[in-house]
């Protein structure tokens, strides 16, 4: 096994642990970004450079940016008592069960099929693109439709009513203006 793989996976695990234990939302998000970069390095070392770089562009660069943006706008300030009540043992039970199930599935599949260790052929962007538009065409199209629905929904929620304060233009008030 590659020493780079081990180092980056240790970084990813530690950063994830820090992300779920921080009380400050922005700090937690920063650790999550570090964790995503660690995951990206893991992908790179096992021969998936395209997936690795997309992990950074899409997740660390765009999605986490929107998370940070939202947290910044909301300016969360939660009192410690309130926080303690929310993170009591009761709230942990259900996620804990789900996590245990996932972890056991992962462990079983790795134990059964150890061939993943020898995965050292490099998968180039061209291979990914070719598979995306042939074998996985249907899921790609479905994802596209789903995103389209999200865009239409955002458009609907984001429209604003045009306000005309001038009395001559009052009869136009029912028209909608988008941002």
């Amino acid at each position: 096994m590659d020493i780079l793989f081990i180092v980056s996976s240790i970084v990813a695990v530690i950063a994830s642990a820090m992300a779920i234990t921080r009380r400050n939302a922005v700090h937690a998000l920063l650790f999550l970004i570090v964790s995503l970069m660690g995951v990206s390095m893991m992908m790179y070392t096992i021969g998936a450079p395209y997936a690795a770089i997309l992990e950074i562009i899409v997740y660390a660069g765009a999605i986490m940016m929107l998370f940070v943006f939202t947290v910044m706008m909301l300016n969360l300030s939660v009192s410690p008592e309130d926080e303690k009540r929310k993170t009591g043992f009761k709230t942990w039970i259900f996620p804990l069960i789900l996590g245990a199930v996932l972890l056991s599935i992962m462990a079983i599949s790795f134990l059964r099929d150890p061939s993943w260790e020898g995965l050292h052929q490099v998968i180039l962007p061209k291979h990914v693109g070719r598979l995306m538009f042939s074998h996985y065409l249907l899921p790609v199209e479905l994802a596209g439709v789903l995103l389209l629905a999200a865009i239409v929904g955002a458009y609907y929620l984001g429209r604003t009513r045009k306000r005309n304060l001038h009395r001559y233009l009052q009869n136009q008030e029912d028209s909608y203006d988008t941002l």
Binding site: H27, I56, I57, M65, M72
Partner: protein, 315 residues
């Protein structure tokens, strides 16, 4: 050449150029604005940069008591790290580049998307409302312009036979520079790159007329210096990238070495970006975002479509 040697040379060169840019920008701006500019320190004012650096290093490095200390310190380092890292994939001359990767162009995009955090975290950690507004503008501006930047580059990638390698992109321009078949892509990339490095006229995150100094209002001393130098490094970076992708990189008439041609073209673009600052006013924020999503996005999509159709037709 050993890889460590190349890395050292590239780093030294980039930081020297960035420092020289400070002087070049001030002199060129004064030339275009019909005034004299810095001409007192040393011959032609050339010692102005060392004087500025001494000042910025010795200034008190103050962290406001209401700021988030850790994030406040991390933020200015991010811009330096990501812009310097991006130079790893720039081919200065044949064989003179740090890595020739098959995902080089994507690496550049990834670094520029991580650069946003510098602005956003600086604004958030300052705990100042003007900084926060600047950070929000920066986040929205840079995340949206990144989309067009990535899309406008796809035409270049297609012309290079679907390769993200910077070396192969330069070599594919032997017949014709990419700027001719990819003119719309070039214009969009130029606008998006200037917006991405939040330079004037697109310096909305630090619009000093409205937001004091925007996201770096609370910064002083060497931390401000890092934002300052980071901006000049990113000007150099986008000039070098434009030259590599659209103007044939190191290619040029053979009577001068390839490295000279690369540097010559890069300096032309640095001067062009300074001219943009000298001549254009800052657009209003909502107009700037509307132009991006309503004009640049459709044009870049149409550009991809037409380029792909022509390439398919040609076979």
């Amino acid at each position: 050449m050993a890889i460590g040697f190349i890395i050292a040379i590239v780093l030294l060169m980039v930081i020297t150029i960035a420092a020289a840019n400070i002087y070049i920008e001030r002199r060129l701006l004064s030339l275009w604005q019909d005034r004299r500019g810095p001409n007192r320190a040393g011959p032609w004012g050339i010692l102005q940069v060392p004087a500025d650096m001494i000042k910025i290093f010795l200034k008190e490095d103050w962290i406001p008591p209401f700021a988030d200390r850790t994030v406040f310190v991390i933020a200015p380092t991010i811009v330096m790290i990501v812009t310097l890292l991006s130079f790893a994939i720039i081919p200065f001359a044949p064989g003179f580049m740090v890595v020739d990767s098959n995902i080089a162009l994507l690496f550049f995009l990834a670094n520029s998307s991580l650069g946003v955090y510098s602005v956003v975290l600086a604004g958030w950690a300052s705990n100042n409302k003007y900084s926060l507004i600047g950070a929000m503008r920066g986040a929205a501006q840079m995340v949206s312009y990144e989309v067009f930047m990535g899309l406008s580059l796809m035409g270049v990638v297609m012309l290079a036979g679907g390769s993200f390698s910077m070396r192969e992109i330069v070599e594919s321009q032997k017949e014709m520079w990419n700027v001719i078949p990819q003119l719309p892509g070039f214009i969009i990339f130029l606008i998006a790159a200037v917006a991405e490095s939040h330079r004037a006229p697109f310096d909305l995150p630090e619009a000093e007329g409205e937001l004091v100094a925007g996201f770096h209002t609370e910064y002083s001393g060497i931390k401000f210096g890092m934002f300052f130098v980071g901006e000049y490094i990113s000007i150099t970076l986008i000039s070098a990238t434009i030259v590599t992708l659209y103007f044939g990189g190191w290619l040029g008439p053979a009577f001068l070495p390839p490295f000279f041609w690369f540097m010559f073209k890069t300096f032309i673009f640095i001067a062009f970006i300074i001219l943009l600052r000298a001549s254009l006013p800052r657009p209003r924020y909502d107009q700037f975002m509307a132009v991006g999503w309503k004009i640049l996005l459709p044009i870049s999509l149409i550009n991809i479509l037409i380029t792909a159709a022509i390439l398919l037709y040609k076979g």
